[in-house]
Structure formats: C-alpha cells, structure tokens
C-alpha cells in the first residue's frame, strides 16, 4: 500500500523521513529548554524595578517579534558565527570556527521562543492573586520562599496554555532551520523530493508527519493543562477518576 519510495531501507526514503522527524523533535526540545530559560529571565527583567533591565527585555521582544524567523536563523548562523570567530581570534585562537548547525538552529529558535514566552510568563506572574503573596508574607516566608513556594508554582498553571501554543509554533518553525541545511524533516523531505523527482509524495508525507506531531502535542497539552489545574475546583476536572496504580 505504501509506495516503494516511501518504504524503509535502501530503496525508499521512509527511514530518512522518520529520522528527520526525530531530529525535528530533538531541535524542538533543545530550543524549548533555551527558550524557557530566556523567557523566564526576560519576564523577570520586564517585571523588575530597574528601567535598564526593563528596556533591554522590551527591546528584545520587540525586535524578535518584528523580524521573520527565517532571517533570525540566518542571522544567528552567519552573523553569530562570524562574531564568535572574531571573538575567538581576539583571544588568539586562529583556527576559524565551525558553528554547529544544531546548536545554531536551536539557539535561533530558542531566541524566538523566549521573546514570546517572556510575555506569557509576565502575564502569568501578574495573574497570581495578590492575597496569596500577602498571606505567604504574613506567615513569615522570606522573599525566596514566597517565590519558590507560591509565586512560581501558581504562575506555571497560568502559563501552561500560552506555552502550549508556543510549543506548537516552535514545532512548525523547526522546519525553517532546513535553510542552513540542517538534516531535519523538511530538509530530508526536499532532498528526497529532488532525488526521486516525486516532490508531491514527499511533501505530502512531510505534511502528514508534521500533522501527527501537532495532534500528539495537542493531546499532551490538554493532559498537561488538566494536570496543572488539578488543585483548582471546578476548572478542567479530569474526565475519568484518577487511577493511582499503573
């Protein structure tokens, strides 16, 4: 039923596409880690009292939101690579610099994710009811404890829907790193399309694979949202009773 060129093994490109999809996931996970860290830091800066920190964080969001993702990837890979090379030269390292494509791609996508995530985190932090923070202070928690025990965990519940959306955007944006010839799903697809001269089959196969990633993410996101809201009465209650033993 599956056309021969899509089968696994030497004759088909099926295995190449699946490996490409795994690389796509890998890049997405790296970018997520980088983006979450950047987003949290930028959200902290936006909520800080220092006008300098606020200005830097706002400029970061504004710039990233106004530039095409494709251009950011090229900028990070070429201009970023050149900058690192110049920096290395300054320290006496003359061998040139080979920017690892996965690192460059994940950095670029993480930079994009972080800019949007900072807005999500900022909103989520502000959504934590003030009374809870006051109550925590009243029972004698230090600022650190208030953050770790009250503000951060509560903020997460508000942030998860927004972060879920950004994850979907990120998954699709991974396809753009194909422009720096990173061997993820889109790149493998276009290589196969060119080699076989059957572009329609391969791009359709890629569409299906991306759609599968989206559908699985959708299901996972719904579960995560339910899990995060499990302590809140009347909101997103689990459909089935929670089974303890697996």
């Amino acid at each position: 039923m599956i056309p021969e060129i899509l089968q696994f093994g030497d004759t088909g490109f099926g295995d190449e596409l699946v490996v490409g999809a795994l690389v796509t996931l890998e890049i997405a996970v790296y970018s997520l880690a980088i983006g979450l860290a950047l987003g949290l830091a930028a959200a902290g800066a936006k909520l800080s009292r220092s006008p300098v920190l606020r200005g830097v964080a706002e400029a970061y969001s504004l710039i990233i939101r106004g530039i095409p993702e494709l251009l950011i990837i090229l900028l990070v890979y070429y201009s970023g690579g050149a900058a690192i090379e110049a920096l290395l030269k300054l320290f006496g390292h003359d061998g040139g610099f080979d920017f690892n494509k996965r690192l460059a791609g994940s950095l670029a996508l993480g930079l994009i994710f972080g800019a949007f995530a900072s807005e999500v985190f900022r909103g989520a932090f502000m959504a934590v009811p003030k009374g809870q923070i006051e109550a925590a202070v009243a029972v004698g928690m230090t600022r650190r404890q208030v953050f770790l025990r009250i503000r951060f965990p509560q903020m997460l519940r508000f942030a998860i829907p927004g972060l879920g959306n950004l994850w979907m955007v990120l998954l699709k944006d991974t396809s753009l790193v194909s422009v720096i010839a990173l061997d993820e799903l889109m790149r493998e697809t276009s290589v196969a399309a060119e080699a076989t001269q059957r572009p329609f089959v391969f791009y359709l196969a890629a569409t299906v694979l991306y759609l599968l990633l989206t559908v699985f993410s959708d299901v996972f996101r719904a579960r995560l949202e339910r899990h995060a809201s499990r302590g809140v009465a009347g909101e997103a209650t689990p459909r089935r009773p929670v089974r303890r033993a697996a």
Binding site: I63, R65, G66, I67, P68, E69, L70, L71, L74, L75, Y78, S79, A82, M168, K172, D173, S175, L176, S178, V179, M186, T189, S190, A193, Q197, R198, P199, F200, F202, Y203, L204, A206, T207, Y210, L211, T214, V215
Partner: protein, 227 residues
C-alpha cells in the same frame, strides 16, 4: 557597510515592494475568505462545520514552508495540473506564493474571527432581532462589524505573522525582500545584508502595528468620552 547599501540597496527596496504587495493582497483576500469560513466553522450543520474545521486544522497544524513547497514543487509533478486551468497561477512563483500565503492566513483569520463572533454580546443580537432584522441583516449590521472590532487586535498580530511568514516565499524562488537578501548574501557572503533586511522588516512591522492602532482608535471613537 554603507557601500553594500549603495550597491544593493535598490534590489532590497525592490524586494520590499514585492513583500508589501504580497502581504497586502494576502491580507485582504484572506479576510474576505475567512468570513464565510468562520461562519461555516460555527455552523450547526456538521457537513458544513467539519470540512471548515479540517481546513483550519490542516493549515494551522503544518508549517507554511511545507505548504508552499507542496503547492509549488509538489503539484507541478502532475501532468494534469500542468495542462490544467490553474497552471497560470501555480507556474509563477509569485502568484503561487500569494496563493499559499492566502490559504494559510485564511485559516488563522477564520479562527480569530470565530472568537470575535463568539464574543458579540447576546443582548445586541436579541435587540437586533427584536427590531425585526432578518438573520442576514443581523449578521451584516451587528454581528460581523462587532466581531471585527473585538477581533481587531488579534487580527493585527496575525498580519504581523503574515509579514514574517511572507519571507518563506523566498524558498520557492520569489524575489521578495528575503529572496533578494539571500541572493545578495550568496554573492559575497557579507552578512551585513541580513542586518539591513532585519531593519527593513522591523520598519514594516512597526508600520503595520501603527496602522492597526490608528484603525482601532477610529473604530472605537464612539466609545471615547465626549469633549
């Protein structure tokens, strides 16, 4: 750095004109197509609602770059397409890019409009019905104008995303701002051209944001305090 602009500035501006053209057309045609799609998505008849839902899910759930490749490279594989009436649109990279951007943005805008329509207060619709307006008139005079107002900020965001998405038409050989930029870069590997392009995209994005702010003020002027 400046001599790069003297040499290639014209080409970047030519590219930016194509980008603006593509975004403006996709934005207008997409909005027109999105209205019936959003209404279809809300329909109680399943044979209308389900295809609309699938269309929206398909276009929102896959990367634009894949959609463009499927349209431009994929469909050209078939003899029937190459002989068919749509070949005029599909064979030219620019019109094909416009088609891809439009189909994509229609799905997103439909979803935004659906949210806007759902946000129209029930009382306004009931009041319109009580005045004796027909269903069509209620939609034309009350629901759609009100929904557009509610959805306006989200729609503005979508147009920014469309501007950024339009850079992907460079992957199907359109010489838009991104396409010109990449072609200039491939000549001399001078990466400052990326900085110029970034600045130009930022200006375009800010212009869109400004336009939508103005539109919002004009649209909601009846809400402002007198005086």
């Amino acid at each position: 750095m400046l001599d790069l602009w003297i040499r290639y500035g014209d080409r970047l501006i030519d590219g930016a004109v194509i980008t603006v053209k593509l975004v403006a057309l996709a934005c207008i045609i997409g909005l027109i197509l999105a209205i019936p799609l959003a209404l279809a998505r809300r329909s109680h008849r399943r044979w209308i609602a389900v295809p609309a839902y699938l269309y929206i899910y398909l276009f929102r759930g896959t990367p634009l770059i894949v959609q463009l490749a499927l349209l431009y490279y994929g469909l050209a594989q078939f003899e029937a397409v190459r002989e068919g009436p749509f070949w005029i649109v599909l064979s030219d990279a620019e019109t094909c890019g416009l088609l891809g951007l439009t189909l994509n943005t229609t799905a997103y805008v439909a979803e935004i409009l659906r949210g806007g329509i759902a946000g129209v207060p029930k009382g306004e619709i009931e009041a319109a019905e009580a005045c004796g307006m027909s269903r069509l008139t209620v939609y034309r005079r009350i629901v759609l104008p009100r929904a557009l107002r509610i959805a306006w900020p989200a729609y503005g965001n979508e147009v920014i995303l469309l501007l950024k998405g339009s850079a992907l038409v460079s992957t199907i050989t359109v010489y838009d701002l991104m396409g010109e930029t990449r072609s200039v870069f491939s000549r001399g590997y001078d990466d400052t051209v990326y900085l110029y392009a970034a600045a130009m995209y930022l200006v375009l994005a800010l212009a869109i944001t400004g336009t939508f702010r103005l539109g919002e003020r004009r649209m909601n002027r009846y809400l402002r305090a007198e005086g």
